[in-house]
């Protein structure tokens, strides 16, 4: 498949120059109707548009392999057809379908098997394992590829384990468009150390390369009236590992924002100091590439019927620079009101430059960016389909 459409979107002049000229940033934007790539200039203020790719396909996630800086994987679904994963080794000029996409094991006689509705989350493996990728699906399943995403195999210890199946629940227990396995994290120090999260079903850790996982849910709140010791009732929205400090995890949960410093196994709620009228409810959470004390979130309204839109129609990113002790509001350049935005868990990200660039996409199809760590924001694109995921990547030189 070859698609090549280019146009240019220009944003306001930068507030300051970047201090560390690095490889240009490319934003990988996955939407409910296709995917787009936005190639930034050195200042990250002008963006060259490449797309649409897969117009009309649901793209849940688009990821660049940081180990080679050129291989792209796209988790796709097309109408009622079976869900493929597409792979490109030329930055999207051509795509090839995975020969063996994620699929559950065939059911044993007398049992009812599951079918993958869509792959939701893609994570490249450890740098020491080139070619390894992980995928999380809906309904919830964990899959691994050892050949760069060409063929995928299920993790039976998760997908077919009775205890995990109980924690996962049924399609009626998950998010409205299907329960998700997400936030697959590989420890950069140890390829056998993995974390996963399930909505619902909790956060789980493996130290044996995925042969077994155990819950990591102590300290997390659950909806009132439910048993917090049961992983079934836990709904992590987004879990991130601090890039420069892999023993520190942050989490945006259905019930607040948390931090965990290993080897502790008890999460600490750190979102309570966000003003009460804003709250610490949301989907995405983004970490600084070098400073483990810095995190950004996009709070959304969790009151009454949980509209999950910007509180009061006034969108803002909230940042902490002290690991969650204090938070401050970042909304310069964002609409001052009447903007009822929703940002999904994969739709906010950071680049690795200095100062850090932040980016998010809304379900109303707007792509926003900041080249100064959130101090000022500018709109990169409008009128896109519902944005599911935004990733910032740097291409190979």
């Amino acid at each position: 498949m070859v698609q090549d459409t280019e146009q240019t979107a220009t944003a306001p002049a930068p507030a300051e120059e970047t201090s560390d000229p690095a490889q240009p940033v490319v934003l990988l934007v996955a939407t409910r109707k296709g995917a787009w790539l936005y190639h930034g200039d050195a200042a990250r203020f002008s963006w060259r548009v490449d797309g649409p790719h897969f117009l009309g396909h649901v793209i849940s996630h688009l990821q660049l392999d940081p180990r080679d800086g050129r291989t792209l994987l796209a988790a796709a679904k097309t109408g009622h057809l079976g869900p493929p994963i597409f792979r490109s080794t030329d930055l999207g000029r051509s795509w090839k379908e995975a020969a063996k996409p994620p699929a559950f094991a065939a059911a044993k006689p007398g049992e009812q098997g599951r079918t993958v509705d869509h792959s939701f989350w893609l994570t490249p493996g450890n740098a020491a394992e080139p070619g390894v990728w992980y995928a999380g699906t809906s309904p919830q399943g964990l899959f691994r590829s050892e050949d760069g995403g060409v063929s995928w195999a299920p993790f039976s210890c998760i997908n077919d384990d009775p205890q995990f199946r109980k924690w996962m629940g049924t399609v009626q227990d998950g998010t409205p468009d299907g329960p998700k396995l997400h936030s697959i994290i590989v420890d950069p120090r140890d390829a056998r150390h993995l974390y996963i999260a399930m909505s619902g079903g909790g956060v789980h850790e493996s130290t044996d390369g995925g042969k077994s996982f155990r819950p990591l849910i102590d300290g997390l709140d659950v909806v009132e009236g439910f048993d917090r010791s049961d992983a079934t009732f836990h709904d992590p929205h987004c879990v991130r590992m601090a890039p420069g400090r892999p023993d520190r995890l942050y989490q945006q949960n259905h019930c607040g924002i948390y931090r965990l410093d290993r080897p502790s196994t008890t999460w600490q709620r750190i979102g309570r100091n966000i003003p009460a009228e804003v709250g610490d409810i949301g989907f995405p959470l983004v970490l600084h590439p070098r400073d483990a004390n810095v995190a950004w979130v996009f709070p959304m309204d969790g009151s009454m019927v949980w509209p999950r839109t910007s509180p009061g129609g006034k969108p803002a990113v909230y940042a902490t620079h002290d690991a969650g002790e204090t938070w401050h509001r970042l909304d310069a350049g964002l609409p001052p009101g009447e903007a009822w935005w929703t940002v999904k868990r994969q739709a906010m990200t950071a680049d690795a430059q200095n100062p850090v660039g932040l980016y998010f996409g809304t379900t109303s199809g707007e792509l926003w960016g900041s080249a100064d760590e959130g101090r000022t924001w500018h709109c990169i694109a409008r009128h896109l389909p519902e944005i599911y995921a935004v990733e910032a990547a740097e291409l190979a030189a």
Binding site: G79, H80, A106
Partner: protein, 85 residues
């Protein structure tokens, strides 16, 4: 037998019609997948079930069973409901 391909699957065949052989519907779909790798999975799930909103017709009659023997002189028509609102 001749097979009419729905528009959403013509990225595989690059044509509205394909030729595939086989005794049963399962055989014909396997032959299509041999000719156009990946195409079967888009229509048949990992539990060997016809996916929702995929339909097969031969001689105007719906074929619901993958094991059904097909008339090799007939045309297989694959229909896929469209969605995307």
């Amino acid at each position: 037998m001749k097979v009419l391909i729905p528009s959403a699957l013509r990225s595989y065949t690059e044509s509205g019609w394909a030729e595939a052989s086989g005794t049963t519907l399962a055989d014909v779909l396997a032959d299509l997948d041999r000719l156009y790798p990946g195409m079967r999975f888009r229509m048949i799930d990992e539990q060997n079930k016809i996916r929702r909103h995929i339909r097969f017709f031969v001689g105007g009659v719906q074929v619901r069973d993958l094991a059904q023997v097909l008339d090799p002189n007939a045309e297989l028509i694959i229909v896929q409901a469209l969605s995307g609102g």
